[in-house]
Amino acid sequence: MSAYRLPGLAGAWIDRSQKLNFNFDGRALQGYSGDTLASALLATGSMHVARSFKLHRPRGIFSCGIEEPNGLFEIGDDARRTPNTRATDINLYEGLVARPGNVWPSLKFDILSINNYFAGLLPAGFYYKTFMWPAWRLFEPAIRRAAGLGHAADPHSGSDPDRYDELSMNAHTLVVGGGVAGMQAALDAADAGHDVLLMEGQSQLGGWTAAQGEAARTQIATLAGQIEKAGVRVVTACTVIGLYDHQFVSAVQVLDENGQTRERLWKMRVAQIVLACGAFERPMLFPDNDRPGVMLASAVQRYAELYGVACGRRVLLTAACDSAYGVAHSLMAAGIEVAAIIDHRDETAAQAPTGVPVYRSSAIVSVKGGQEVTGVTVISHDGLHRQEILVDCIAVAGGWTPAVNLYSMAGGSLQWDERSSMFAPSKDLPGITVVGACAGKLDVGWVPADNRPTPVALSALGQIPGKIFIDLQNDVAASDVALAAQENFRSVEHLKRYTTMGMATDQGKTSNVNAIVLMGALTQRTPPQVGTTKFRPPFKPVTINTIAGGRSGERFKPLKRMPGHDWHTERGGLFEDFGGWLRPAAYPIQGESLEQAAQREAFQVRQTVGLFEGSPLGKIEVFGPDAADFLDLMYVGTMSTLPVGGARYGILINENGVVFDDGIVARLAPDHFWVNTTSGGVERVVLAFEEWLQCEYVNHRVLVTPVTSAWGNVTVSGPKAWALLERAGFDATLAPGAMKHMTIRDIDHAGTRMRVLRASFNGELGYEINLPAQETSSLIDRLWDLGHDLGVVPYGIEALMVMRTEKGFLHVGGDTDGTTLPGDIGMDRGIAKKAANFVGRRSLLRPASLDASRMQLVGLIPVDRKTLLPVGAHVVAPPGPPGLIDGFVTSSHPSPNLGHPVALAMLQRGRARVGEIITVHHLGKAIDAQVVATPFFDPQGERLNGRD
């Protein structure tokens, strides 16, 4: 154990008067309020806290921020368990439970650490080359099981009990980052009179400066007071995760990791964005640079200054930039011994603390210690000078990488700074300014791009050097980058995907630049010539529930309820989602299954009378002097010839001639139509109508008003339908003898205005009673009460589907798909005679539309009169699969009224093949069926008028 808690009052951000108990890997430990999980672990001397992803090498905390690649843990238990969480990004709380994600059986003894011995067999892209014989699929399950860094909550433990908030906020200026540059920018904007919002990802303001000593923290406090006085709204523990088009920004705020509302998603659209995101420190590259105890220098400094934690008793700094020297001074001031500074460069103006030796033009070539650092071997670049130094912490300072992620998301381009060896924003963008370290405005002296030990130095070691890791989280080594170059995966996009560099949850924050530099060195290119990949949201990993917000359970998606919903519930309706509406699929009684209930209902309706609520049916009022002409343009059929009170079935096709909806159009007045659509299709039909009116037929004087929710629909159908309505007092002018099928009447019944349409989707005498939605329940209830001795039965969607299939009636979306033309479903009879143009007409003249071998909708009956043909089953020409399909089954039900199954299918040249015996194939089973014309039941349509 090397790390320890500094005595006294060290640690500006912790409160030593508040101890917190937590558990890590089964060990009960303590920390302080203000600690992160990482700082608390380090304070207990826990250096080895994790295992790496692929090779299961021992790993320790590496950083002090969201860039952490090693310390990834499962946090919490049961339904609150969150995997892959960075210990540096979790504020310690009482009772926190954490465990390493990918160890078995334990952290200290992990069986899969054997992978490290076979590292040579597991280079980048190994799964394309190894485990191929005898078959990859034999190895894949085991490899997949071994992969991953943790486990999500077990679904059996219940749903996540936490609440996730979401908030939309306005501001003129959003400042991202609460360091000095950000705070100053916020103050400037507030002084200019703007409404300013400042977001800082850490729990306190200050950024990098906060760890630069007490004087610096005093400066921060003064600045914080000024921005508060200026009216700047400050939100801490809130990380901006995405920057999108039109100045839209999203951020995630951690409220209370152990409280009821856990996280909050902010959504903002602002006029001006100031990016003050700071910079990430670059690691140094040397053999075995992944050992527990190797940490970013700035992190070692922050742990000492802000959390009162010494990351080692004897710290070595290895540097390629001047900031390491500031860290050395800081550590000495905190009472931490600094063993030496190993500077990759041969000179610098920066001064080391008194008594700290500096080895220039040198590099670490070997790290001692398996589970924790115990020492290093340092050799000069020319191989002539060698040092063996005992240390327990190596602080690496390879340079700085501006945090340009958000800038890149906004489309900003980067330029390479030769002196500082970093990619920085090339310029401000409209509405976006970059300041401070994020803009590359930091002076750390000259920084060599490539900070690896020289080959001479490595050779002078006298033994095979260890792996040099580039991407710690995905175990990507320098040898993997070399392999990528060797195999010609030279493009930065290929480098990323072939090696998986930068593809872990840290998104390459500490690895991207080193990999780019290395690839450039291997392929004689400069870093800007290699280029960078695109940064995409989120800037840091986000829990899925934060994105989902409250979208779960009843809030997951809008599901509309019918006006009569309670009535159906009381009668045992089994509800399902049909086109975005919650509707009864059936009303099972006495232990019936859904299928049994549907068969019973479909049989009974044809014997007596059924009640069905059709309120979700799309309803549109089309009004205006040109309404009739317009509907002729929209529909394949002709609507302008409808008399007032008449109704006609019509299909709608798009510009490609493909059927996208259908329904009945009724004429209420010369310039007033009542248009029905499918239950799930009214929005798309209204959209189509409006688009044509506003973009193409702009001179048509037509008003389109959707009224689906305003009108309820009670459908009464069956041989006794009129008997029931008559009993309920409906006027005799609606009797079948007086009111023809496919006509509509505007009536007043018992003081309620209704539109009664004689129509039928099941082939029985049917009345669709449209009435004010709020009256639906009372009507259906009254009909139910009056109809008992008539045998009235409520029926659901499934029974309706059985009956309409018996009649061979079309179900758009079930029997049609994105290729179905009117001719395919036998709806092209009137087209040639229709004088008026209509949308899609021209497309019906294409050769492909006129092809005689097109699929056509036909009926199928199984030859054995018993076997149900599965929906989706394929018709394949002899000798059977594999082969080109001839057709497929689209609808299929047992028919209670015929005593055998019936099906509809799309079949090539179907109508010319009536009588033919074909074979339907499904999951290895072959079923013979006969092609028949439809309807199967009541082919003459006599039941429509209530006669048997």
């Binding site: 939309s168 009843e554 809030r555 006006p563 009004f623 205006g624 004087r701 009224v707 305003a710 009108w711």
Partner: protein, 174 residues
């Protein structure tokens, strides 16, 4: 069906039982008809986008061809409806039964709504209205006072809407 009188955290939500909703549809050539209809119920002109004119009935702009009339009783809209008849260039469509109208009131009203709609979709001043997206449904908001407004949605979406209001209310700190 969901109970529509409840508290969404510190914001009270009450169903407006008898709100009449009539859509006055008109083609450009019938702009005068619209104005005549509005004057028949005491509203001097057609509202502009975002504007609410009148006091029972209230007239809101919905689209270039639509003004919505809201009233507590159909007596307040009958004259306007009658004035829209007699021409094929305009019509009045009663949407009352299809609309759920809620009154939301409380000091944290906007805090609640910012959890459900884009903050830029909120009507700012009393006497203004907006159409907005509340999570995944379309709504209309009518601001009457700084801490009181009406929320109109499709009645079939009641359950979904009430669930969301309660969820957002629970996230409010009192």
């Amino acid at each position: 069906m969901a109970a529509t009188d409840f508290n969404a955290g510190p914001v009270s939500v009450r169903k407006i039982e008898t709100l009449v909703v009539v859509a006055l549809r008109h083609l450009p050539e019938a702009a005068d008809t619209l104005v005549t209809a509005l004057r028949a119920v005491g509203i001097s002109a057609a509202p502009n986008p975002g504007q609410v004119l009148g006091q029972n009935p209230w007239a809101l702009w919905r689209s270039p061809s639509e003004v919505i009339l809201l009233a507590t009783h159909r007596n307040h809209t009958d004259a306007a409806v009658a004035a829209m008849m007699g021409t094929s260039l305009a019509c009045a469509v009663n949407q009352t039964d299809g609309v759920l109208a809620l009154e939301l009131q409380g000091q944290q009203l906007d805090d609640l709504l910012r959890r459900l709609v884009d903050s830029r979709s909120l009507p700012g001043l009393p006497g203004t209205s907006t159409q907005a997206r509340l999570v995944d449904i379309s709504i209309t908001l009518v601001r009457h006072e700084s801490d009181r407004l009406w929320l109109l949605a499709e009645r079939p979406q009641t359950e979904y809407l009430v669930n969301w209001l309660k969820h957002a209310g629970a996230c409010l700190e009192p």
